[in-house]
Amino acid sequence: MAETVQTLGAPLDVARLRDDFPILSRNVRGGKPLVYLDNAASSQKPKAVIAALADYYSRYNANVHRGIHTLSEEATDEYEKARRKIQAFINAESPSELIFVRNTTEAINLVAYSYGSRLREGDEILLSEMEHHSNLVPWQLLADRSGARLRFLPLFDDGTLDMSALPGLLSERTRIVAVSHMSNVLGTINPVEEIARQAHAAGAVVLLDAAQSVPHLPVDVQALECDFLAFSGHKMLGPMGVGVLWGRRELLESMPPFLAGGNMIMQVGLEHSTYNELPDKFEAGTPDAGGAIALGVAVDYLSAVGMENVRRHERDLTDYALEVLMGLDDVALYGPKSADSRGAVIAFNFADIHPHDLGTLLDRDGVAIRAGHHCCQPLMRRLGQVATARASFYLYNNRSEVDVLAEALGHARAVLG
């Protein structure tokens, strides 16, 4: 649990927050302090989350929803408590609308298979040109299975969606609109309320890939008026292996099961079975109970800091990083140039150095960034790039780490520029 309870409006006490993350004090590459700027790929974990996992396995590890003994009851209680914490965190109406899955990818696949089973030839699925492969390939497979057609909301060169194209792309054929809430490459925060409003008017359901938004922005599913929201625990201080699909109850109730097996059934006959109530209908097999419980602790931590505070800190840091990077020669930045409309993800290229070389050279200075296509090959083609470097920040990053990044870029130029 974060002892650092923030006062709303006060700057984050980053130095104190950093003490909660043991990994941030390690050195890499022969004594360089770690500067971890790969948070869009996975975040680090506070002591409280690590302790929650250890506590689960030390004290009450047992299968959930099955045992009639003490440990199983405790595990089930804590597992369901975690579901309610996450419900409150995204302001969902009911905990039964939250399905624990492995990650965002599995959440999107669940919807593509289950809700997608009602799509037919002639139906359309609307995506955008900036989607992560995990919000693209499941829909390509659904299009192959159903004969539905994929359509794409285009991008402006500044990395924002061309919303003027939306009315022309939506029609009574549109069944599903699946877009990223916040881009994992461009950082763009998309106008998803407006997309949802127009999509609903056309009779489509809306899925938001919220892998980058839920960890970094206040997210209220009722205010967003979306129908499905998919996110991963490991990008929001939680452990790997657990993620969440939120869906509107009436939709989830109308959908067939995705994975089949234990826990998701009510009555099983040899020829036919009836399915369990929500959320169990979609949670076949033994879940990552310890992971879900630790994710609940991560949500406690983020709530204690305050998501408004996280967002404000990251907006300040992004503005600073954009300013520092734009001050260097030979930098190409992708995405919106102001932190007002973007999150703390900055894709860039530098001095004609291939991003992979840049990744290696920055790592020598202790700076961890991502290099490559970021699972967004169509977006890379749209940007005219094979790959980019990407620095992404979180609540525990600070300005001096941006300065180390700039210094390390200077060193990289000396070798390869």
Partner: protein
């Protein structure tokens, strides 16, 4: 803070081949043409070769593509090393190079290619170095397959 030009990865000879690539551009027509990419980092390479009239040796060997310094320098060095070699000897060098990169193969007889040994300390980059070599190996093997 001064920067250490240690630099077992970015050795001078690698940087030289990266900045001044040899035998760059596609041969057309070509007896062998293979394209490959490394989906992890987006390295792309195309290898084209012409064989001698009797098909017994690699008369000309070119590469094209874009990617990191290691993949591009490795391709450039490969063309210099292999061009002019009889097929059997070319295959021997390719396998010896791969052994050096992927196992504990000795470096004797590899000449300048030895410079790429430093890549081994950066495991994710090994694929970059080996990419052009795998492409050439596939091209020559396919060619040998259709010839017999």
């Amino acid at each position: 803070m001064s920067f250490q030009f240690d630099d077992e990865l970015y050795r001078d000879i690698i940087l030289d081949h990266y900045r001044n690539p040899r035998n760059k551009g596609d041969l057309e027509p070509a007896d062998v043409s293979v394209s490959a990419n490394n989906p992890l980092c987006g390295d792309e390479v195309t290898i084209t070769a012409r064989l001698s009239a009797d098909g017994s040796s690699v008369a000309e060997l070119h590469f094209s593509g874009r990617g990191c310094s290691i993949s591009q320098a490795s391709a450039s060095m490969m063309t210099e090393e292999i061009e002019g070699k009889p097929l059997a000897e070319a295959l021997k060098v390719i396998n010896k190079f791969k052994e050096m990169m992927l196992a504990e193969g000795d470096v004797e007889g590899l000449g300048d290619l030895e410079a790429l040994q430093g890549v081994k300390r950066y495991p994710v980059r090994i694929k970059c170095a080996v990419l052009p070599w795998n492409s050439l190996l596939q091209g020559l093997t396919d060619k040998a397959g259709t010839a017999t």
